[in-house]
Structure formats: C-alpha cells, structure tokens
C-alpha cells in the first residue's frame, strides 16, 4: 500500500486502490454488514447486495453485530441496520457504531414516519431507507462510504500539516479504517456537532495545524471531570446532556461535551479495538498503578521514553509525577524526567511522550498527561517540544484534541517497546508522533484515563515491559489518536514480530474517546497486530502496569531487564507503538492517567512505549521503554540507550524499573517505553482516579505506541511493536488503583 493510499484509508487492506484509495472495481467488494431481525428481509437484502457485488455479512441480532464489529475493526465499510429490533434498538446500535467504529450506518424500516426518520438523522445515520427496500436504493449506498472517507481525509489535511497528514495517511494505510483517517482531525472531530454526525466534514474548527486552540480546551482537569461523569453514567449510556450536568462546568456547552464524548468513545474504541482489554489484564494493573503513583514519580515513567521524544525529557514525566497535572515536564520537556535519566536518544525523545502512565500513579491524578500542553508534548516528543507539555499527559498521546495526527504512525516505524517480557514494539509511526507534536494539540487529555493496558507478556526477558498501558486514557483524545495510530501502526507493522514480550498494549482509551479517525486507523492497525502479538505471550509478566500502587509507571516496555517490577503504571500504555523511526514524539499522554483529579494531563502513562524505535524491524520490539514512564518514583535510571536503533531508556525506578530492554538485540533494552502508548485499545478511562493505568499487564508487545518514543526511535524504529495489544483499558485510572484498574476494561 503506498503511503498515499491513506487517502482512502480504506479498511480493506491489500486491495489495489485507485487514487481515492478505492479498489479498482469499487464499489464492488464493499463490505457491508446487514442487521435485521426479520429473516425474510435479511435474505432479500443479502441477495440484493450480492447482486450489487458487495461483500455481505448478515446478522440478525444487533448484539452480535456489534460484537462482530468490535472484533473485527476495519472489517466492514458500511452497516445497514433495521430500526426495530427485539434485542436492541436500532438507534442505539447506530450510536454505538458511530462512536466506536465510526462507520457509516444506514437505517431501514417499514416505518416512514417523519419522526422516526428524523431520529435517524439526529442519531447520525447516513441514510434512511424505507422498506421494502429496492435494489436501486442499495446500489448507491457506497456513496456514503466514499463521502465519509473524503471527509475524513479532508479533516486530516486540515488538521495537521501535510506531513502529519502524510503520516497519518501512512498510518492509515496500515489498514486502518477510513474512519481513522483523521487522527489529525481529532480536534476537528471534536467539534463535530452532534447533528452532523455523519462524518461530515468536521470543520476545522480549531486551528488546523495544531490543537493549540481548540474551542474548548479540554484540560486534564476538565477531561477528568468529563471522564468521571461519563463513568458515572456508564460510558455506554452517557449522553452529553447528562454529562454536562454532572460536570457542571460553567461555560461548557452541551456541544462541547458531545463532541468530546464522541471522541472519547472513539478513542476508547480505538484503544480497545478488539476489546482486548482483557489482555492487559492485571499484570498491568498492578503495575501501572504502582508505577503511576503520582506522576511525579515518574521515575520509571518512561521518562525515558519521554526522553525519547527528546522533547519530553523524562522530566516531564517526572514532572508529571510531581505535579499533579501538569507534568509538563514529562511530556515535553520532561524536566522531571531527569530522574529517569532519560537519555533520550533521539528516539527516546519520543518517549517523552510516554507520559508515564506512571503518572497515573501519581496519586492518581498526577498523571496529568500533559493535557493541554500535551500538545506541546507532542511536539516535544516529536522532537520538538513545542511547548513543554504541561501535562505530561501529552506524551504522545495526545489524545485530546485532535491529536489525531498523533497516531499516524507511519507505518514504517515500528518501535517495539519491549516491555518486560514482551517488548512493546511501539512502532511509532513517526507520523504519529509528529503529529502529535505538531498538532500542538492540546492534548487535553483531560483526565481521561485511558488506561492503556499494555499487556506485556512476560517474556522472560523483559519483565519490565510495562505495557505502558497507555495512559492513553488520559488524553484519550490524543492518545487515542496516537495510541491508535501508533498502536495500529505498530501493530500492523509489527506484525507480530514481536519479540517475546508481547506487550499487549491495551490501551483502553476511554470509550469513545477515540480519536476520531486517526485512531481508527491506528487502532486498526494496532489492533491487528497487537492483538496478535500482544497478549500472546502471557501477560504473565503482567506488568503491573497500571497498578498504581507504587509501581508506578512502569511503562517500561519491553524488555525490562530485570524483572523490574512492572511498573505499575503502564499507564503510558499509550505507547505509541510505532515509534517507527518516526521522530515524532507523540505526545502520549496517554498516561493512563487516571484522571487525576483534574487536570491531569495525560499521564503519560505509557511512556512512549513505542520507543522501540530501536527495535529493529522485525526483530524485537523495540524496546520502548515503557516502563519508564511509570516510574515516577524511583529514580529512574533512564538510560536511554540508543543502541543503534533502539533507544533504550533504562529507567529505573524502584518500582518501575522500566527497563525496556532493547530487546533482543541489545539485551538491555532500556525501557523506552516511554511513550505511553496509548494503545488505543480500549482505553478505558475511568473516571475514578487513575485507575489503572490499565495497562493491561500484557506486555506491550513491543508495539507500544509510543509516539513519542517513536520519535526518538524514529529512526530506528523498528517495527518492533508489533503487537501491542491495543487493549488498553483505561479505566479511569486512579492512581491508586491503577493496578486494579489496569484491567478494567
């Protein structure tokens, strides 16, 4: 797939595409999922669609359809659904799909009442067909797919720099879904009004180039409030109005909340594409939590990873720890990261993005992923810390606004962060990282606690790999994008080369917080790989990723050499996996920052896991030192070693020794994980405290999307990250219970 195919970002990978990214015989082969409880209608529709040369899958139950969609993200282009179904209301399904997968949905019904049709429109259906459906009506349904993709692409272009777009595109190429095309347009998506759900153009509301000025700055605090509200209402049932009421923030409009919610869900979705949150189970939780202790202590935080980003010096990670939110340092400038001794090798810079999931640990709120500033983090990560990411949440995971760019991990890079046990290959696609930084997005990771659960399989070698669970939660927005991207990139890239440690970076980004589009792409890719790689191995090493308890941050990815206690927080799971050579330092603020009470910037929990840059392609997962992020506490000895290609940051933290070893090759990989890769996988942001870095214990399989790391690692990115298990569960991290949270999905 050529990089520019992204334009179409067609999910169907592998097919030759035309300029728009469609296969030459388009619309033939369009993958349609039909949901209708009436067997007669279903049969007829099936036949009709096949006559149109579409690729049809039928389903008579909405729940099954949803599961199918979740399981195989990117496997469908379009959904046709009946309105009245016994097990689930068609509109509800529509909402879910829109938020989680962002696919075009067409409703059908024998009911042609105006109200019903209106309902379809307001819920975001692309079209509404009256039964009996005729062939002619079905022949043209492909237009909705094209339109959506174009819009996304447009957003992409608008939102980021061209470069970012490219990256995104490339990332998208990775088989991401069209919907993820706009990572960059995360912020744009943010603005998407409810009414125009249908992938309409997301106007670029904010400054296209960076999220610097979103209409509403979703600061970590705000985001945390948001997440708290969402969780209270239950993420599936949360409606903007109620969220708004619960949040009770003056000046915040329902629309703001709505768009943010949408992103959040997408983010979650992305993080947790295959709903693998399970992957990251526990091991991470513990770890992440632990690590996360107060972000401040990033020690382990992948500051290294952050450092990777160069921009974000571990300090930022540290800073994250220390400051309750703004760990600005971590992200970008990780000043505090010092501890980690980040040596951000160039690549590591990206790590900075890894806002240590550890941050989460930070007493749960510390993980601020550099939210707002995350944007800067991002940039930082990317190499230029644009603005010190205040909340270090932004490591790479800029989930917030539009970090979309973030995740455009260029497929080329795959950084596998080797997380303990598994290396998390964070293939950070450069683009992602770049995007992140570029975007300047505000990563207001507001408290999203996206926990990226990174499951790092315990590899014998790496233990440390903390699947940085991606703190993605935090900025879910950003991270998601990033995470997704990275993840996806990595994942895809990595193809499971993963080395031993499979870091399953499961970033469970808060549901719905997925970055719009970009995530999609990323997540898709990531997921693909991640799932494979990650979690494969046993998450045995269960990295305590997110365990807030002390383990803060472990984001260590990959190979943490010594068994270092998985740093609890893999918050950073967000590791952008694809640190592929990319230099971008995605701000991952994924730190699963469990929303630290407020402004948590994204705690980068996941320290850029993707730092893996070093990893060579294929070989191991780059060790993204994921763990690093989490370690806030101890003095992270983050030595980022940049071994030829890997940046290994050895963050040593007492709890979190994030060590990402560079897997394989070097053996020592230092935990680069900085980037908390936001593995987009289900980042479940749990409102409550940072719960969990939810890094799923799984080690990141290298694919830690550490955007930031990616940056650093960029060059080297190896595709290491193959399999970051995107499931990051970010369950509202509460630093305290990150551990537990880690798994929460």
């Amino acid at each position: 797939m050529d990089p520019n195919r992204a334009a179409a970002s067609t999910a169907s990978s592998g097919r030759p595409r035309d300029g728009v990214g469609h296969p030459p015989d388009f619309p033939a082969g369009l993958r349609v999922l039909v949901v209708d409880d009436d067997p007669t209608c279903l049969k007829i529709l099936d036949r009709m669609l096949r006559k149109c040369l579409y690729d049809v899958t039928t389903c008579s139950r909405a729940a099954v359809a949803l599961a199918m969609l979740r399981e195989r993200k990117g496997a469908f282009d379009l959904v046709l659904s009946d309105v009245y179904m016994p097990d689930m209301d068609g509109f509800k399904l529509l909402e879910h799909i829109g938020l989680e997968m962002d696919l075009p949905v067409i409703m059908m019904s024998a009911d042609d009442g105006r109200d019903v049709v209106m309902k379809g429109v307001t819920h975001g259906a692309c079209d509404y067909l009256i039964k009996p459906v005729r062939m002619e009506a079905l022949r043209n349904i492909w237009q909705h797919v094209v339109r959506k993709r174009r819009n996304e692409l447009k957003e992409l272009e608008h939102s980021g720099s061209a470069e970012e777009n490219d990256k995104q595109k490339r990332a998208l190429d990775d088989g991401d879904n069209a919907s993820s095309a706009s990572e960059v347009s995360w912020k744009n998506v943010k603005r998407r009004k409810d009414g125009k759900e249908e992938e309409e153009e997301i106007e670029e509301r904010e400054d296209p180039s960076t999220l610097k000025k979103p209409r509403v700055v979703w600061s970590v605090d705000l985001h945390q409030q948001f997440v708290a509200a969402v969780n209270q209402l239950h993420v599936d049932k949360a409606v903007p109005k109620k969220i708004l009421e619960l949040m009770n923030v003056p000046g915040l409009t329902r629309e703001n909340v709505a768009s943010h919610l949408q992103k959040y869900r997408l983010y979650l979705r992305r993080l947790n594409v295959p709903q693998n949150q399970a992957r990251l189970d526990t091991p991470y939780t513990g770890a992440s939590e632990a690590t996360f202790h107060s972000v401040g202590s990033f020690d382990g935080l992948d500051i290294q990873s952050l450092a990777v980003a160069g921009q974000f010096p571990p300090q930022s990670l540290m800073a994250l720890n220390s400051e309750p939110r703004r760990i600005t340092t971590t992200g970008i400038g990780l000043s505090s990261v010092d501890q980690i001794g980040f040596n951000p090798s160039a690549q590591m810079a990206n790590a900075s993005n890894i806002r240590p999931a550890m941050m989460q640990q930070m007493s749960n709120k510390q993980l601020n992923f550099l939210s707002g500033p995350s944007s800067s983090m991002e940039s930082g990560l990317l190499g230029q810390s644009q603005q010190p990411v205040p909340s270090y949440g932004n490591m790479g995971l800029r989930v917030s606004d539009g970090a979309s760019g973030f995740f455009s991990l260029p497929s080329s890079q795959r950084t596998s962060t080797s997380f303990s046990g598994g290396t998390i290959n964070a293939n950070m696609t450069n683009s992602l990282v770049m995007q992140m930084t570029r975007q300047g997005q505000q990563f207001s990771l507001s408290q999203q606690q996206n926990r990226i659960h990174i499951n790092m399989p315990q590899q014998p070698q790496t233990r440390g790999q903390l699947p940085n669970a991606i703190a993605a939660e935090h900025d879910s927005r950003l991270s998601t994008t990033m995470g997704h991207q990275i993840l996806s990139n990595e994942v895809s890239r990595h193809g499971s080369g993963r080395c031993g440690s499979n870091m399953n970076v499961c970033t469970s980004l808060p549901e719905g917080y997925m970055n719009a589009s970009s995530y999609g792409a990323v997540s898709q890719a990531l997921y693909a790989d991640f799932s494979n790689s990650c979690m494969n191995e046993s998450t045995g090493s269960s990295y305590p990723l997110a365990t807030g308890a002390g383990a803060t941050t472990f984001t260590s990815t990959g190979m943490l050499q010594d068994a270092f206690p998985p740093v609890g927080n893999v918050e950073a799971l967000g590791n952008s996996t694809s640190l592929k050579g990319v230099d971008f330092v995605p701000d991952y603020d994924l730190l699963s920052e469990v929303h630290q009470s407020k402004s948590r910037d994204w705690k980068l929990q996941n320290i850029n896991i993707s730092y893996q840059l070093a990893q060579q392609l294929g070989s191991k997962q780059s060790n993204i030192d994921f763990g690093s992020s989490l370690l806030a506490h101890q003095d992270p000895i983050a030595t980022i070693k940049d071994e030829s290609s890997r940046n290994t940051c050895i963050v040593r933290k007492e709890t979190f020794s994030v060590r990402t070893d560079i897997e394989r090759e070097k053996g020592e990989c230092i935990a680069q994980c900085n980037s908390t890769i936001l593995v987009e996988n289900s980042v479940r942001v749990k409102a409550e405290g940072m719960s969990d870095l939810s890094y799923q214990g799984g080690l990141f399989d290298g694919n830690i999307i550490q955007n930031e790391l990616m940056d650093v690692v960029g060059k080297k990115q190896q595709e290491g990250i193959g399999q970051v298990d995107p499931e990051f569960n970010f369950d509202g991290y509460s630093l305290d219970d990150i551990q537990g949270a880690v798994q929460k999905r």
């Binding site: 409880d37 007669t40 036949r47 006559k51 019904s109 009996p132």
Partner: protein
Amino acid sequence: MEYSNLRRQAAYMKKSLFDQGYLDEQFYQLEELQDDVSPNFVEEVVTLFFRDSARLISNIEQALDKCPQEFSKLNAYVHQLKGSSSSIGASRVKNECTLFRQYCDEENLEGCLKSFQKMKREHAVLRQKLESYFQLLRQVGPAEKATRPSM
C-alpha cells in the same frame, strides 16, 4: 406445447395475482434477484416468509387472547409482519397490517380483532395461491422460469 401451455398458465396466474392486488411491485424485485446463482430464490424467500409470518401471526393471536390491551406490543408484532410482507410484495397482507396498526394506535380492540381476522385470511389465501403458482412453475421447468414478466 405442453410446456408452453404450462408457461402460459403460470404467467396468467401471476398476472391475476397482481391484478387482484395480492402481489405488488416488490415481487418483481424478487424475481430480478433470481438468476443462475440463485435459481429458486423467489420460492425460497416466499417459503421463508410464510414460515416466519405464521409464527408472528400466532404471536399476535396469543397476545390478543391473553393481553389484548397491550397495544404497543401488538403494534410491534404487526410492524414486523408488515415489514416482511412488504418485502415480498404481499400487498394485501401488508395493507391489512397497516389497518391493524391504526386500530392499535386508536386502542380499538374490536377493530384490531376484526382486522386481525382479515389479515389471517389474506395470509392464508396468498399462501395457497403462491403455492400453486410455484408448483406450476416447477412443472414448467427450472430453466424456464417463467417468472419474469416481460422485462
């Protein structure tokens, strides 16, 4: 000869079904979907319809017996029936469903009952007619599906 007679008969039967309003346009759509890949598509769908609609009808019947006041429930059942009957072009059945729903909306139990009876009848009649039709078609020969009106 025989064959063409049969064909003519089949064609005639079909035409009268349309003329009498038992079938409508949608039935043509079904026929269009039939081809070499799915040579018996129409019959399959129709069979499926009758099986499924029989179940629905019995549900409605039960509901009318046990909890006739639950109009929304009745409404939901009938809506389903309406959807599937319209999909195969069972026009009369569909119309009766519409009427039934109206009665439900008005909460007119009596109207519902009456309408339901009528619906059942229409359903039975259609079933019978289509069965004969398909039988005839089978005699005509599979390859020769005289199902298409002069398209």
